[in-house]
């Protein structure tokens, strides 16, 4: 009697667990997708971090300057896909990538600082 209850219990738990897991997985995927639509690049110590960022089409990338010196975010193509105004410490710049491609960019004040966004 106990065994069957426990088996039933186990089965029930498994079913519930699976259902629960399924729901959880769906919401986790949804959260992950939301997260993917907003990505951040941190500017600090004359570096873009991460230097190469891969995102999906439709993602908004936000650069935030955590350095104690101003920087800019300027794409290297011509005409420029994106070009921020000068960002002092804690200032941000956002751009939504609506087309797939590779977008190299740099800081126009300190041109040795380079980065890349790959949009897939």
């Amino acid at each position: 009697m106990r065994r069957s209850v426990s088996i039933a219990g186990l089965a029930a738990a498994l079913v519930l667990g699976t259902v629960g897991f399924g729901t959880g997985q769906t919401s986790r995927v949804a959260n992950a997708q939301e997260k993917m639509s907003m990505m951040e690049v941190k500017i600090d110590n004359f570096t873009f971090g991460p230097a190469t960022l891969t995102v999906s089409v439709g993602t908004t990338v936000t650069w935030i300057n955590k350095d104690d010196i101003p920087h800019t975010v300027v794409s290297t193509d011509d005409p420029k896909t994106f070009k921020s105004k000068v960002l002092d410490t804690d200032e941000k710049f956002s751009f939504t990538f609506s087309k797939a491609g590779t977008y190299p960019y740099f800081c126009s004040i300190h041109p040795k600082m380079t980065g890349k966004v790959i949009v897939q």
């Binding site: 110590n45 004359f46 350095d67 104690d68 010196i69 000068v86 004040i109 300190h110 041109p111 040795k112």
Partner: protein, 322 residues
Amino acid sequence: MSEKKKDELLNDHNHDGVDRRGFLKCMAWAGTGAFCVMKGGVLNSYSLSRLSEISTPDMMGELSFVQISDSHMGFNKPANPDVAGTLKAAVDKINALSRAPEFMLHTGDISHLSKPEEFDTVDQILKSATPKDVFYVPGEHDVLNDDGKQFMERYGKGGKGAGWYSFEKKGVHFIGLVNVMNLKAGGLGTLGHDQLEWLEDDVKHLKHSTPIVVFAHIPLWSVYPQWGWGTDDSAQALAYLKKFGSVTVLNGHIHQTMQKVEGSVTFHTAASTAFPQPAPGKADSPGPMKVPAEQLKSVLGITDVNYKQGKQALAVVDSSLA
């Protein structure tokens, strides 16, 4: 006593023209407040404290000017929360020079964020300096957001292209160059084709004996390319100046004094009046370097330059704000 010995040692050397090692040795003392003056082909050094002992005609050139740089008006982070105060201290230092400079050169990064009020503040502070004429070249911080339009309107009238120009004082030919425009990703400072063409034409008809002073923001020699401390196409510019017997290149941008002699060309960078930066490679990045508050003035400075007609080399002396 040891200073006297050093002077004797230099005087004993046989110099015909600039002796590279002797000049470098001399320039290395400049940071501690020494004078290096060329007299009849011989380098003499004097410490600033002995200045009163030395006769004025001997020491003082006929042309005297001051270089300041990197005032970064608007900067307010821990490395220096009061850049207006330290600029005022620089003006006090200039006004205290025994021979009043005739004019000033500002080698750029006048402002920190190219804001009108930042330029206004610098103009205001410099009004109380004895030398009333100031010649500017822009730093990368002066041409933000508007491709340098504001800088041109304020300081670049009469300049060509992005604001390069030349002028003459007492037979010395001064050339202001702009190497902070149209910077390319991964690159260094750049002069560009139009400016180089203008430079070639500008110096074409000058006598080889004309002393040349070139001033630009980013160093025109390769100080530390990894940090962008150099100019992509400066070799071309220097080629146009090869024929001259005396070329002095004055730069800023690196916020520390540095000297290099290459043949008849003396390269020199000035300290900032705002904040210091680390020596090449001595930190992760070339950002503002924090020092204890009581040490700040000792790592900021001005540069005093003297020229005596008939002599070739200019005497370049750095002094800190301490």
